[in-house]
């Protein structure tokens, strides 16, 4: 494995790991404060038990997200020193704001976790709200930096020199809004479905029904609303990419030849040699419509781009298909949930209902990872779109493959450990005594 591949794999692997913890740490506080609010309003013991159980989850996920985030803040420079040398001063603003937001989150979390019966109840609850809001704010700010890599702005680039740097303009880059919206909804949808699925499984097993049903309802409500909004946000993103990063769009759709009224391919196996997509379902003119809102619009194909400016088509296409189909499945499940909630609560007695939410639990995070693969692999070979190539940014330090394997071992161990700890939390919750 050469150094560039090792560095890319390490970056991908650490981000794939970090993002799950970051999302849970960002979204779960909202579940926690919802349950906490219900406890304050109703004084039903289930909500207190649930809040305290969820807060332990938040603490574990927050710390794992925080330490892997610390590692990432160094890794950017450790793996891509050339990138950071130039990009640091340009996109530093969202990063420093993110640092501030993250700090606020840590302070508020300190108050929240240790504040039970020590600080006034309302203030205590508000510190929980601050945890959630500042968590989402840091997520949105970090995405600004990624948006800048896709839509670089706020500088002039002449003969390899960056000048006239405007950090504010760089932060307010064109990709930020659509990406941040898509990511925030994705975080809520995936965490909502994952948490709901865990509790659905406990309901299936008939354990502590009160708590798990309350938990399921809170988590799935957040998840289902986000899952229903997500296709709209996805449409905004697609139209944005069609304009700004046509090569990425072409790779997502495995679209080789430029044409008017381009068809949309669903599924299929990509053969990059013959430039063919086998076994696909083609919907005539749909791609032109989805990308430009016009059935006859021209969609640029990959062959219009120089060979060394094309991303890996197969990976991007497959990842995109996975993201869309899982997203679709989640939106359907969300509809089923609302239907049962308002019309057919009797279905909640049926096993298949709970099995549905158990089976779909990992879909959100799988879709989220697939989506990031689309945006990151789809941007290649660029690290800063159209400005700097990834291979020119990589560290001169050889043997990155060693640190890649170290991170694989470390993060796999941590994943197993955290899953095991969560399982123990649920066991403890099931053993706790409840007075409804």
């Amino acid at each position: 494995m050469d150094n560039l591949d090792a560095a890319r794999l390490q970056m991908a692997f650490t981000l794939i790991f970090h993002i799950v913890f970051a999302c849970v740490g960002m979204v779960m506080p909202f579940f926690m404060i919802t349950s906490h609010y219900k406890w304050i309003k109703t004084r039903k013991k289930v909500y207190l038990t649930l809040t305290k159980s969820w807060q332990k989850g938040v603490a574990i996920f927050f710390v794992t997200g925080a330490v892997s985030g610390t590692a990432l803040s160094f890794e950017l420079g450790l793996l891509w020193p050339e990138f950071m040398k130039h990009a640091g001063p340009i996109i530093g603003m969202p990063f420093s704001l993110e640092g501030a937001a993250f700090f606020v989150e840590a302070i508020a979390l300190g108050f929240y976790l240790y504040g039970w019966n020590k600080i006034p109840e309302k203030f205590h609850w508000i510190t929980g709200v601050i945890v959630g809001v500042s968590g989402v704010a840091s997520g949105i700010l970090v995405v600004a930096a990624n948006g800048w890599m896709n839509a670089p702005s706020g500088f002039d680039y002449v003969d390899g020199v960056f000048s006239n740097i405007d950090p504010v303009k760089a932060m307010l880059n064109k990709a930020w809004f659509t990406q941040a919206l898509h990511m925030t909804l994705a975080a809520f949808a995936s965490t909502g479905f994952a948490v709901a699925g865990i509790h659905a499984y406990q309901i299936l097993k008939g354990r502590q029904m009160d708590v798990h049903q309350a938990a399921f309802k809170i988590a799935i409500t957040f998840g289902a609303i986000a899952a229903l909004l997500q296709p709209l946000s996805g449409d905004l993103s697609a139209k944005d990419i069609a304009k700004r990063q046509p090569a990425k769009l072409a790779a997502m759709e495995a679209h080789y030849e430029t044409e008017k009224g381009a068809p949309l391919y669903i599924g299929g196996i990509v053969d990059n040699e013959t430039q063919e997509v086998k076994y696909k379902i083609a919907i005539p003119k749909a791609l032109s419509f989805l990308a430009f809102g016009n059935f006859d619009a021209e969609v640029k194909g990959l062959n219009d781009f120089p060979k060394d400016e094309r991303p890996n088509v197969a990976i991007v296409h497959y990842a995109f298909q996975i993201m869309v189909s899982l997203g679709g499945a989640m939106a359907t499940a969300a509809l089923i949930f609302f239907f049962t909630y308002f019309k057919k609560q009797s279905w909640w007695q049926k096993n298949w209902f709970w099995w549905l939410f158990v089976l779909i639990a990992p879909a959100g995070f799988m879709a989220l990872e697939a989506g990031w693969i689309v945006t990151e692999v789809g941007r290649q070979p660029w690290i800063i779109h159209g400005i700097m190539r990834t291979k020119d940014a990589v560290t001169p330090v050889p043997g990155i493959v060693v640190s890649f394997y170290m991170y694989v071992v470390l993060y796999l161990t941590l994943t197993i450990a955290v899953a095991w700890l969560m399982n123990r939390q649920i066991k403890a919750l099931n053993q706790s005594q409840l007075i409804a």
Binding site: T70, G77, P81, H86, A100, F103, V104, A106, L113, M406
Partner: protein
């Protein structure tokens, strides 16, 4: 504006060294304790550090963000030449952080605690050694910023894996332990107090001894940094000052003045850092052939301006909150007694 940015950089590095340092040191203390004392230390640590330790460790992120935004070339030397110790430090930070949460938030208390405890203690020892070695490497005069002509060992190992850096690494760790011991004295009861006082004494002696050894080693091996340090009036004045300030420190420990003892312990650490860095500022990295000036090659003015404003706004939100956090949990402890 650059001085505001610089102020925040110094401020966050200082706070990281003081707060996270005490945190690492507490783990080291736990490692070098008898079995019963380990259990007591673990409990005390959770009570004292629990609400604040996450915030303590964010200072390193703030420092690193300021470095890469405002001083990109300086940061570049760090991440390229010191890639290996930084990666190992991160490994330590990660393991230590998760071990702390695992051992306090695991739903059941059983034999898995043994694993968390040892993971916590060992990474508490290893991490500050690497942080110290990174500081040491900057000052060692062994870093080589070269090209393809140089070997892997010369470019990426010799800079930090040398006796001087290792000495500084151990020195830094003993400094952390010193801070933690003083912190824990204030939290202990009559029986455990003696133990921590004894440990504080050992830590103080080792700080002084290791400082002296590193200094003489640097002096006899013609280390550029030590050469400047020895001749600097600033360094001499600060060292004398810190020597004098040891007396009020011991007075406040003896008289159980919790706040004063912590204050004077913090001042000791600030003195050591000041004595080391004021004489050489702004040249903060000594390579084999030259030195690297922090204030040369800074980011463009527009970046510095925006960063400065961001830091001021962030600071006005964060600092009162942090102060309130530290204060309220301290106050609660007093009320509980």
């Amino acid at each position: 504006m650059i001085y505001i940015v610089l102020f925040f950089l110094v401020f966050s590095v200082l706070l990281y060294v003081l707060l996270a340092g005490a945190d690492f040191g507490a783990g080291v203390l736990e490692l070098f304790s008898s079995k019963e004392n380990q259990a007591v230390t673990k409990k005390t640590l959770y009570r004292v550090m629990g609400p604040v330790w996450e915030a303590n460790h964010i200072w390193i992120i703030i420092s690193i963000v300021i470095l890469w935004v405002a001083f990109p070339l300086f940061y570049n030397v760090l991440v390229v030449s010191l890639h290996i110790p930084i990666t190992l430090m991160l490994l330590g930070i990660t393991l230590r952080g998760v071990a702390f949460v695992f051992r306090h938030y695991d739903a059941f208390i059983d034999r898995s605690q043994i694993v968390y405890d040892w993971m916590f203690r060992i990474s508490s020892l290893v991490t500050p050694i690497f942080i110290g070695m990174i500081f040491g490497a900057l000052l060692s005069g062994k870093i080589i910023i070269g090209n393809n002509q140089n070997t892997f060992f010369e470019l990426y190992i010799s800079g930090w894996f040398n006796l001087f850096s290792i000495l500084i690494g151990i020195f830094f760790t003993s400094l952390c332990t010193f801070l933690a011991a003083i912190l824990l004295i204030g939290e202990s009861d009559a029986t455990t107090r003696k133990v921590y006082v004894k440990k504080a004494r050992i830590a103080t002696v080792s700080v002084v001894l290791l400082g002296f050894i590193s200094l003489s080693y640097g002096y006899f091996t013609n280390n550029t940094f030590i050469g400047i340090f020895v001749e600097s009036k600033w360094a001499l004045a600060i060292v004398i000052l810190s020597g004098i300030l040891l007396f009020p420190l011991w007075w406040s420990i003896k008289n159980q003045r919790r706040i004063y003892s912590r204050f004077f312990a913090g001042v000791q650490v600030i003195c050591i850092l000041a004595a080391a860095f004021i004489p050489i500022f702004p040249e903060l990295i000594f390579t084999k052939t030259s030195s690297i000036n922090l204030l040369e090659n800074i980011a463009p003015n527009s970046t510095i301006r925006v960063l400065g404003i961001t830091l001021i706004i962030g600071g006005t939100i964060i600092l009162p909150g942090l102060f309130h956090l530290l204060k309220s949990f301290k106050m609660i402890k007093i009320l509980e007694r």
